[in-house]
C-alpha cells in the first residue's frame, strides 16, 4: 500500500511536471485531443494553398475581371449608376474626385451631408488618419514624434482658403485618401468610397471649427458652455 501511494504521488508530480498548468505560455503547435474535421481541405481566408504554384490561397482578380461579391453599378457612371458602399470604379466625381480635367469641390450628389455622415467621417478619420494628422487635424499625430515629417495640417490656407494657390478641393482630398500623395500612401484599398467622402466632410468640419465666427449665436452658445478652470 505504501508503495502504491508513493508511485501514485510520484506519477502525479511527473504529469504536472511535464504537462504544467492551465494558462502556461508555450510556443509549440497546440495539441488537439479530438481533432475530427477540425482541419478541412478547403481554401480559407488569407491561408496558404498548395494548389497554386505560388502557394498563396488568396488570389488576385484576373486582369479585366470583377471579383464575385463585389457589387458593381447596374448603370454606367454617366447615367447615375453608383455603389453606395464599395471600392472605386468609374471616372465620375463620386468615384474619382475629378470633374473632367479638374478636381471637383463640394460633395457629389450621391453623398448627403448630415450629422450621421459627419459622425461616420469622424470615426473613420480617427481610425485611419488621426495617427499622423492628429485628432484635431493639425498634423500633430503620434507618428510626428517618430520621424514622419511634413504631415499636412488641415488648418492651413492650402486647405481652408479656396483662393490660395495650393488650395485642395474636396475632390483633391478624396484623391489623396484614395491614392496617396507625396510621403503618404493611398488608403483606397482599406476605406470604401462612401467613407472617404465622409472623411472629407469631417476634415471640412474640423477646419470650420477653428474659423467659427463668435458673432454667430449658436457658436456663442457653445463658447459659453465650454469648460473653464475654476477661479477659486
Amino acid at each position: 500500500m505504501r508503495y502504491f501511494f508513493f508511485a501514485y504521488l510520484l506519477s502525479i508530480v511527473l504529469v504536472i511536471g511535464f504537462a504544467g498548468f492551465r494558462g502556461d505560455k508555450f510556443t509549440h503547435t497546440p495539441i488537439e485531443i479530438f481533432n475530427d474535421m477540425d482541419k478541412q481541405a478547403k481554401v480559407k481566408a488569407q491561408s496558404s494553398n498548395a494548389f497554386f504554384s505560388d502557394g498563396v490561397g488568396a488570389r488576385k482578380p484576373v486582369a479585366g475581371t470583377v471579383p464575385m461579391g463585389l457589387s458593381i453599378a447596374r448603370k454606367p457612371a454617366a447615367d447615375g449608376g453608383f455603389v453606395a458602399y464599395g471600392f472605386s470604379h468609374g471616372s465620375d466625381y463620386y468615384n474619382s474626385g475629378r470633374m473632367g480635367d479638374f478636381w471637383g469641390d463640394g460633395f457629389p450628389e450621391q453623398i448627403k451631408v448630415d450629422e450621421s455622415l459627419l459622425r461616420l467621417g469622424q470615426e473613420r478619420y480617427n481610425i485611419n488618419c488621426a495617427i499622423c494628422h492628429g485628432k484635431a487635424g493639425d498634423g500633430k499625430g503620434v507618428t510626428s514624434n517618430y520621424g514622419i515629417a511634413n504631415i499636412a495640417n488641415f488648418h492651413t490656407a492650402g486647405f481652408t482658403d479656396s483662393k490660395a494657390p495650393d488650395y485642395r478641393a474636396n475632390g483633391s482630398i478624396f484623391n489623396t485618401i484614395s491614392l496617396g500623395k507625396g510621403l503618404m500612401s493611398g488608403y483606397g484599398a482599406s476605406i470604401p468610397v462612401k467613407e472617404r467622402w465622409a472623411i472629407v466632410a469631417w476634415i471640412r468640419a474640423m477646419e470650420l471649427s477653428r474659423q467659427a465666427p463668435l458673432a454667430d449665436p449658436s457658436v456663442q452658445a457653445v463658447w459659453n458652455a465650454r469648460p473653464v478652470p475654476a477661479t477659486k
Binding site: 501514485y8 481610425i127 484599398a189
Partner: protein
C-alpha cells in the same frame, strides 16, 4: 490442512478497491483539467516571423484595431493587414531594422509574410467577426487585452461552452458601439453596472444570439 489463502489476502479486496478509487480519481481529475481548451490552447504564444508588438502599436501609440484589421466590421474574417499597411508608416519609421527589411521585401515582391495564426476555429464552426463587433461585443471579450501583449497569446479558451456562455447571457459582454475597440474600457470604469447596461443594450438592439446548433454549424 494449511490455509489456501494466506492471512494478508483478507484485506486485499479492500486495498484494491482503494487503489482503483484513487487511480480513477486521478485519471478523472487529469482528463478534466488537461483535456480542455483551457489547457490546450490558452497560453499559446507562437513566435511570429516579425516580432510585431501589439503593446507598442495598439497600446502606447493608441492605434485603433481597425487601422490594420480594416474589414473586421464588414467581413466574417478579421483580416491580417497587407504588408503595404505596415509600409504606410514604416517607409519612414525604423527603416534600418532588419524586420522592416522583410516588410520591404514583401511589399516589393508581393510575397506575403507568413504570420502564424493564434486563434483557430475548427472548420465546422462558422464564426463571423463582423456580426459580433457590430452587435456590441468588444475585441477584448474574446482576445483579451491585446493592447498589453508584446507577443500575442491565446487568452480565452474559445471552446464551444465558452461561446455558449455568452450566447446565453450576452448582457455580460455587450458595450456601447464606440467602445468596441477600446480594450481598456469597462462598464465599471465608466461608473456603470455591466449587467444593467448590457441588458439595456440587448433590448435596444434586439440582440438574440443563436443557441441552436445551426447557428454556428452549418
Amino acid at each position: 490442512m494449511a490455509n489456501t489463502f494466506p492471512r494478508w489476502t483478507n484485506t486485499l479486496p479492500l486495498k484494491l478497491l482503494v487503489c482503483f478509487l484513487f487511480l480513477g480519481a486521478a485519471v478523472a481529475g487529469g482528463v478534466n483539467y488537461y483535456f480542455t481548451q483551457k489547457y490546450t490552447r490558452v497560453g499559446y504564444m507562437p513566435s511570429q516571423p516579425i516580432p510585431f508588438s501589439h503593446q507598442i502599436h495598439a497600446g502606447q501609440l493608441g492605434m485603433d484595431c481597425r487601422y490594420c484589421h480594416s474589414f473586421v466590421e464588414q467581413s466574417g474574417h478579421a483580416n491580417v493587414p497587407a504588408s503595404s499597411t505596415c509600409w504606410n508608416c514604416h517607409q519612414h519609421v525604423k527603416t534600418n531594422s532588419p524586420h522592416i527589411a522583410l516588410i520591404k521585401e514583401s511589399v516589393d515582391t508581393g510575397k506575403p509574410i507568413e504570420w502564424v495564426k493564434v486563434h483557430n476555429t475548427p472548420d465546422y464552426a462558422y464564426f463571423n467577426h463582423s456580426v459580433h463587433v457590430t452587435s456590441g461585443v468588444s475585441c477584448v471579450s474574446c482576445h483579451g487585452k491585446i493592447n498589453e501583449m508584446p507577443v500575442v497569446f491565446h487568452d480565452q479558451s474559445q471552446s464551444m461552452s465558452w461561446c455558449l456562455d455568452c450566447h446565453r447571457a450576452p448582457e455580460n459582454q455587450l458595450r456601447p458601439m464606440d467602445k468596441i475597440t477600446q480594450l481598456d474600457w469597462t462598464a465599471a470604469s465608466a461608473g456603470k453596472d455591466q449587467k444593467e447596461m448590457g441588458q439595456k443594450l440587448k433590448d435596444a438592439w434586439h440582440i438574440e444570439p443563436p443557441v441552436n446548433c445551426a447557428g454556428c454549424h452549418r
